[in-house]
Symmetry: C5
Subunit: 338 residues, 5 copies
Amino acid sequence: MTSIAPSPPIGKSNPIILELITYTREHFEKHDNLAVDDLLLHRKANQVNWVNLDGLENQDIIEKLQSHFSLHPLLIDDVLSDQRPKVEEFDDYLFLTLKMLHRLDSKTIEYEQISFVLGKDFLITFQEKEGDLFDGFRERIRLDQGRVRKKKADYLMYRLIDIIVENYYNVLDKIGEIMDDIEETVYENPSNKTFNRIQALKKELIFLRKALFPLRDALGKIVKGEFEFVHDENIRFYSDVYDHVIHIIDSLDTYKDLTSGLLDIHINAMNTRMNEVMKVLTVISTIFMPLTFIVGVYGMNFEYMPELHWRYGYFEVWGIMGVVVIGMLIFFRYKKWF
Amino acid sequence: MTSIAPSPPIGKSNPIILELITYTREHFEKHDNLAVDDLLLHRKANQVNWVNLDGLENQDIIEKLQSHFSLHPLLIDDVLSDQRPKVEEFDDYLFLTLKMLHRLDSKTIEYEQISFVLGKDFLITFQEKEGDLFDGFRERIRLDQGRVRKKKADYLMYRLIDIIVENYYNVLDKIGEIMDDIEETVYENPSNKTFNRIQALKKELIFLRKALFPLRDALGKIVKGEFEFVHDENIRFYSDVYDHVIHIIDSLDTYKDLTSGLLDIHINAMNTRMNEVMKVLTVISTIFMPLTFIVGVYGMNFEYMPELHWRYGYFEVWGIMGVVVIGMLIFFRYKKWF
Amino acid sequence: MTSIAPSPPIGKSNPIILELITYTREHFEKHDNLAVDDLLLHRKANQVNWVNLDGLENQDIIEKLQSHFSLHPLLIDDVLSDQRPKVEEFDDYLFLTLKMLHRLDSKTIEYEQISFVLGKDFLITFQEKEGDLFDGFRERIRLDQGRVRKKKADYLMYRLIDIIVENYYNVLDKIGEIMDDIEETVYENPSNKTFNRIQALKKELIFLRKALFPLRDALGKIVKGEFEFVHDENIRFYSDVYDHVIHIIDSLDTYKDLTSGLLDIHINAMNTRMNEVMKVLTVISTIFMPLTFIVGVYGMNFEYMPELHWRYGYFEVWGIMGVVVIGMLIFFRYKKWF
Amino acid sequence: MTSIAPSPPIGKSNPIILELITYTREHFEKHDNLAVDDLLLHRKANQVNWVNLDGLENQDIIEKLQSHFSLHPLLIDDVLSDQRPKVEEFDDYLFLTLKMLHRLDSKTIEYEQISFVLGKDFLITFQEKEGDLFDGFRERIRLDQGRVRKKKADYLMYRLIDIIVENYYNVLDKIGEIMDDIEETVYENPSNKTFNRIQALKKELIFLRKALFPLRDALGKIVKGEFEFVHDENIRFYSDVYDHVIHIIDSLDTYKDLTSGLLDIHINAMNTRMNEVMKVLTVISTIFMPLTFIVGVYGMNFEYMPELHWRYGYFEVWGIMGVVVIGMLIFFRYKKWF
Amino acid sequence: MTSIAPSPPIGKSNPIILELITYTREHFEKHDNLAVDDLLLHRKANQVNWVNLDGLENQDIIEKLQSHFSLHPLLIDDVLSDQRPKVEEFDDYLFLTLKMLHRLDSKTIEYEQISFVLGKDFLITFQEKEGDLFDGFRERIRLDQGRVRKKKADYLMYRLIDIIVENYYNVLDKIGEIMDDIEETVYENPSNKTFNRIQALKKELIFLRKALFPLRDALGKIVKGEFEFVHDENIRFYSDVYDHVIHIIDSLDTYKDLTSGLLDIHINAMNTRMNEVMKVLTVISTIFMPLTFIVGVYGMNFEYMPELHWRYGYFEVWGIMGVVVIGMLIFFRYKKWF
């Protein structure tokens, strides 16, 4: 559960999807369900060629893509193994890898690594699993909505990253809701379950931060204009994503601080309860111990105990015990115990 | 309550205010209650044109402003969504967004995002809601008080930011008062209520810091003279605001440290109380358990118990019990328990 | 008490002192008790002119100084309001503001803001209150002791700062003594009073650090030779003060760490005590509960209880109870409870 | 056990292994079991000469290597004593030292220092002990698998470092497993044993981080191209190892945060238990103290106690006691104690 | 004890030692027991002149050295007062001051300030007290062992610093031993004494770090080649000392982390004990309270209590009590309390 090492190999049963989208301002084509060699025949010069591969366990496809685009062996290693987000420039392309948050239900976040190879006229995206966040966007390209058809591959990459980062905000909102929910319960009902929820949230924040912090650095390099594969006119767009990532990290840090606060509240609630239990115990003991002593005195069997023969001795003892109880209650009131 | 995500969409009922103030040294005009197109007709070259928009839900106004001033789409996105404070230079204007603290009552601080677009001869301010801190200042412009009529739009922006930052000091003073108040009660009466007040304060400090930290960076960039839209002669003014922001952040950090101290004091007070409760319990138990034992002894029904037949047996038992109590008291005094 | 906002306006009753000292190698003059205009007539070109003002509530004096030395309005704002220490260069002078520690008694430190305006041939010092640390030094100037009469105004400023920083060391020594004192008591007598003293000390350290940290940055700028108003030959002197400030900050950090240690010691002592109390309770309960049970048994009124009729039954019960007590004591010894 | 000082001198019984591997694209030779002078005769110009020494206690071998390769005395000092990982350039070679993790069983990690001296045509590796991680790789060189025979000595060094760093991942996986294991037990069975396992893990993480942090800096210098002994074309490979080291450090930091979480969980579990124990005590006391008091009352020996003579007095007392118990249970249910 | 302020003035009784060693490759002279003027007559041009002064309270000697070597007054101030380690370049010499650890016994470390003034052909060392770590080294110079006679004064300074830093390692080893010792006892016997030892160790680490951190910066400046008084060929030696200092600081940080771990272990042990005590109390109370209640029941004096007249009533009560005890024991076993 805490494993940060490379994710387990994906089962063979997972379907592999390979598709090619080529477009210019006037033109749009989409190819899938083709063998890799056939697919690559459809690549067109002077167009944007987006090759998307879902599922990385087919050695053959990877090798053919590698030789077709002359990808560096270390790059392929990085695509196939678990990497921290990073950007790296090669002679003929820019390589960027980051984490996509996937199929989020109320309990778990699944991390999927997505890698981008950005060339002059192509963009390759490698995803670990079938299914992504881009379906709506593919449709927008086809229908020529927005700016994407007027722009080059670097803008396409920006849009995809932007979609992924927007999705982070959903996770953030979810965390915010969980946090509000915990905050409500922690004051009233500081159970172990609440504590474990806080711990789980904290763990989530640690992992999210781990995925986002290096992404900030990678995008920062692009924003500084270090790479020629991203045109100057599009750097402003990357700058926008970069701001979003910083904002998310900021929020994560804020959440982390708030989580510490929640833990403090939980601990305080626990201690308050303990105090209350102790007080009940002490109040009961302090009232009944003297009373039990008093009745014990008159349970003694001495031959000569004058009180035993008094007419109202029994009732006087009740009177004394009443005085003791009232005295104790005044003492507790003075101590502000209730 | 802990949501850091974009604030909820503002209800349609919220009135939208659009106004234009144009002025030079000799001249002052103010227009409001006009349709956006009519309003923009009053824009005058070679004057300072301040367009102020309160309420961002009217798509039409935004679009017309965007096309009139040729504002970048990403800029409009930033205006409309929740952003961390930042500054960004475009070809024809400088964009700055920050948080305004609004309608502060004793319990809650409301954050409102305000965005500035500073051009050669104009300043646009986008506010989320009606009502701002600038009414007094508008009057000062009209009456030609201070330097503002002698200066350009960059000085106008400085003045507005200065007013917002001055308002932060009010919040700071308020926090200082709350802090003093808590400090007084935490020593005497460490209730859960005090604890929750400390937690609420801590949360406030976290959010304030989050709003101010990036503002420092944004103003720092202006102070370094990175942007031509702020004239060199006015940088000293921005430098002054920048110093204030640093001072406020400093104070927030100090408050944060003091809050931790208050929490320590609260916890110590809780523990001290617990100790006291335990001592009472122990003192009572330690005194009455031996006494109850003694009277129990002489409640036994053995046929042959010589003490029972002694003339003063009963009174001697009282004597022994007196000795036990005094011994215990000396023991407790020695242990410095009271 | 925790207010970090600007200090309250100073009462009118506070006497205002304005004085001018002019000197060269051969010459020394001192003027006070004069109206501001008369005083400024005594300013001499090609000499060092030191104008010192104690008390800032006389608007008139401030304004006349401002116009005489053509001081920037923002500078006057900074002099009059609470500022973090900083240095700023203007066209005709250098502005430096810092905190002076004043009239320190064993409990409280009073912060007073002192501002310097250093020109070619003059130095103005603005102090909030009457009375300062410079009396001995004024005498040294008059008597021409040390180097000051041979040097310019920048050396004079260095000497004044040096005196203020030296005074910090006194505060540091005092804190060291308090710390030793607390350390002695915390081990033996961990009372709430000790805890509160530690908290008060911690608060003091937080405020001191807040006053010194920005001073380090300000002096650092002077040491780097950024300002022409401090001659290169005198930078080494500022470098010396700079080292002292770093040393003091270092010591404050060390004290902060030690304070945390003291708190840990206090908490440990509290817990140890709690443990001890609990042990006493447990020992008493564990010894007397079984005994009380035993004597209870023979207090029962069953018709047929053979032991009651035994000749030595009573004494045998005492024997059994002795065995129980000894067994318990052995158990406690084994548990190393005493 | 916590010693960070130089490791103890290695016993003389440890066998010393000295071997030389020379290779080019076409050629491969391996020499061992030779005296140092004889061995060095086999060194070949224009080939890659890899001298590997396991065991550093033979003064003679070291000295002969030193004079043959004219190694700097300080370099030999560094090889022989415990060093933090670092890289240093000399005139004729590059020196790099780092820690190898060795013979890892489930409890302990053994650190072994390995030093590299990289010249134009040679690589010397100094290891403290016999046995290393390179056996499989030697075989790969011999069989001319991979790229190593086509490359120079700097690539050889990269491959060796890469093998060492890959091995770090194994350690990381192991730690991940231990962590999962602890996490499962800490919720259910918070024994002291679990606590000690967490502490041991934390200690391990501290030492691992200490070994890896300076390695990052050292590799970072190589990646920046500071050293001519690593050819530009091979820097990308070092960059890859560098990324791995950063990833491992990231994971260590994440583990450290998770460990703190585990400690919090342990402490919370301890406190929860304590609370439970206290509740049991309080429930028992609160139920039986009043009951014992009641029966005590009717154990008194007063002559005139009317209830004693009532026909159903005894049963009525049982009734009263039943009411008390039920009342207490309702009270506890209300307090949500069970 | 926690004083970080300047050390107290050294008593007059302390003997003052002044000595001069001059040497070249061929020549060696040592002079001591001479008046300062006579001694300085022996200074030889074109040789290395090492003037060593132990004890700083003789004003006369200091002044004569000052005028002979034309030392800056601020430098003399720094020599005489407590300084954080630093390096500073003057026109004719380099000034370096650092802390020497002295006469270490098992409990306390004594800090002594040593200052170096390095000129072209001389090195002055100022020590606060008689006795140093250099005796063996003086003999090595005399006997012309090692490289020192072949080198200049900057190498001499390196050797002295190296000896001082090597001595830090001894302190580090000692701390390592103490740490191991504490670790063994803290698990078994978490007494207050152990706690205090941990606190003392932590304090020591804080002070050591304070002495070493600025030393790192000072040496770093030398290593960067900022000063001409250290020849380029000798910078590698300083670089070696620099690495040692970084290694020591690393180890101190590791020790600090381990110390926190020890504190956690101590606190956990304390809590475990507390838990154990509470369990004993609860077990005893839970067993004997019901029993005492039962025997109380049959101690009542009601006229009509049928059980009292049963033939085996007494024994049946014993039976019931046995069942209660066994039930309780099963309950505790189920709760895993023992």
